[in-house]
Symmetry: C2
Amino acid sequence: MKIGILGYGTVGSGFIDVIDNNRDKRDIEICKILVSDKYKHKGKKYFDKITENIEDIFEENIDVLVEVMGGLNPTLDYIKRAINNNIHVVTANKDLLAEYGDELVKLANEKGVYIKFEASVGGGIPVLKPLIESLEGNNIESISAILNGTTNFILSKMYDENLPYNIALKQAQELGFAEANPEADVMGYDAARKLSILSTLAYNNRVYWKDLYLEGITSIDERDMEYAKKLDCKIKLVGQSSLKEDKVSAFVRPVLVENNSILAKVDNEFNAVIVNGDSVGEISFVGKGAGKLATGSAVYSDVIDIIDNRINCIDSFMKNKVEINKILENKCSALLRFSSFKKNEIIDIIKSCIVEYDVLNDKDELAIMVYANSEYEINNSLCLIKDRGYCKNINKLVKIS
Amino acid sequence: MKIGILGYGTVGSGFIDVIDNNRDKRDIEICKILVSDKYKHKGKKYFDKITENIEDIFEENIDVLVEVMGGLNPTLDYIKRAINNNIHVVTANKDLLAEYGDELVKLANEKGVYIKFEASVGGGIPVLKPLIESLEGNNIESISAILNGTTNFILSKMYDENLPYNIALKQAQELGFAEANPEADVMGYDAARKLSILSTLAYNNRVYWKDLYLEGITSIDERDMEYAKKLDCKIKLVGQSSLKEDKVSAFVRPVLVENNSILAKVDNEFNAVIVNGDSVGEISFVGKGAGKLATGSAVYSDVIDIIDNRINCIDSFMKNKVEINKILENKCSALLRFSSFKKNEIIDIIKSCIVEYDVLNDKDELAIMVYANSEYEINNSLCLIKDRGYCKNINKLVKIS
């Protein structure tokens, strides 16, 4: 089996290490490795295979192109070129799949080659393959997941060490868990892309990431963490989606989760995917969502599947994009925080819209836990409060069960 | 695809339901269903396919034999006959695999047919396939698992409702979670068989279930649960194995697990398998370990793999049985309980053998938490205490981290 690799960063190095660790069992020949600046990689193994010229990759007679360089361009062109040349593709690139998954899967199906992307969601955790293959006999009803290690690390730090967001972010950056520009992580884009891939596969409907309800973690502060502790909860950036009567609901947002739940046990750089199937019930997959060798292991497993000819057929990416419901339509509860508030007026409105509530704090700010029949009820009350100018700022943090 | 089914009990019915729920996607023809007493199944669907005669199964031109009847005999003969007739086999029978896995896998390999058994471990949780296929690039270093739903249900009841063992067992029996003869569950045999299958696949060594260290839950009492709560722990029947320097260690025994761990979150009929791989780190799989549709879903996924020709090659069952270390050789702690005790004498011995200890109770019984360099240290002290007659009974409950 001859492979070409695009990219020699963290994941590429991990993948190559996994190949070498398994040389006694599997003979995978690394033909060429494409990088943008060859001399940045001096001293690395397989240096003689490194090239800066994409033509060198395609001149080799490779069976599989492994794409671990990231980004949308020129990655998309390279992958399309590979498929058009009847070369199988393994990619870890969730950005690319979330954006162009339909085009790529369609092209691969037309050309009769395979495109596999286990590492794109949940890093090292086997989740796409179990979802597609092992749970095929199920209608998947819902997914709840922690899909971004960077934000989970930041939120864990904030919770465990009472750190403000900025300091926790800085620590994550220093430890290599967050990038210099953390936008894709902290704004929830990365998690939304992964949730869209999972949901597309789970519901056999094309779920486009930009259509989800999306909220990042940048406005979470130390007071939120204090209230969470009081409520015996943690705060997690959760991606959740469901299929009910042919309607897909999906969001990525910071939420309160009970300490007693599996999601609350998933801290730091760990990820979790909890899938609900109509036959199997609730299945949880937990593990490292990133990391050199962990992600390398997932990429490797895709290559092995191609070698062993173990293939599943995916056509959900080729479906039309579905409309996505962005609001919690069932019973839900939320922590509401108001600054510069008029207590009695706010509580009167809440009483009129929402059946149950608990005041957690009415000193320096007003913090109320509300228990509503749907998120609409909560939003209606907040609209009224805002319109009438009963407070300056409002923060809302939903609790999921 | 034509299949014959052996058995029409809980799992058989669940499997058939899953087939019918997926008729729009997959056309699986149920040719014959073997039962021991046809008229017990009157009113069930596919009644016209039911037979009491195994010859009727083999007279059909089936592609796959699905064995969900359980037991060792005549099941073993039927499966061997199928393989010899070039029929693929899917089985949920952990007893059979733990005992005759070597013979069956060898025969299947010789005949070029597939034997698949996802449902034999962890019920509906996809675990064998992810372990073999998705984690192929890893050396598996250890496994920790809750593999028996019956005992987990009993221990959860005892912990949550302060029930004695016998009452919790009776409730489990009334709810259908435990059999009239609960021996295989409560003595740990069932968990040991499952752990041996997992460990055989994980370490590429034949790990035989009777060679594990094995201890059931029958001696766990309400006081154990009280101490566990004091220690911020739960008590779980855990199967644990590891491979270190070519040596396999393995046990199934009740242990203390910290409330803060994933295993402690796995209650009632749920199962969990936590795998440690050298590339991927710690991966946890959690879900229902039994149940009609959940197990049916796992059996179904094996049949689909055969239809789609997605096969993995297993030869670890054919290896020679390895010797198994049965004792914890690393740092470990344990709860020791002594009845009719001589306190000072016992503590003197513990002081001389073990560095650290905490006395939890010295009133009606002596309960001590000890922190040792290995289980040998603990056992040595207990031998001395016993030999010198410093107490009547000793209970030891190890804590794992």
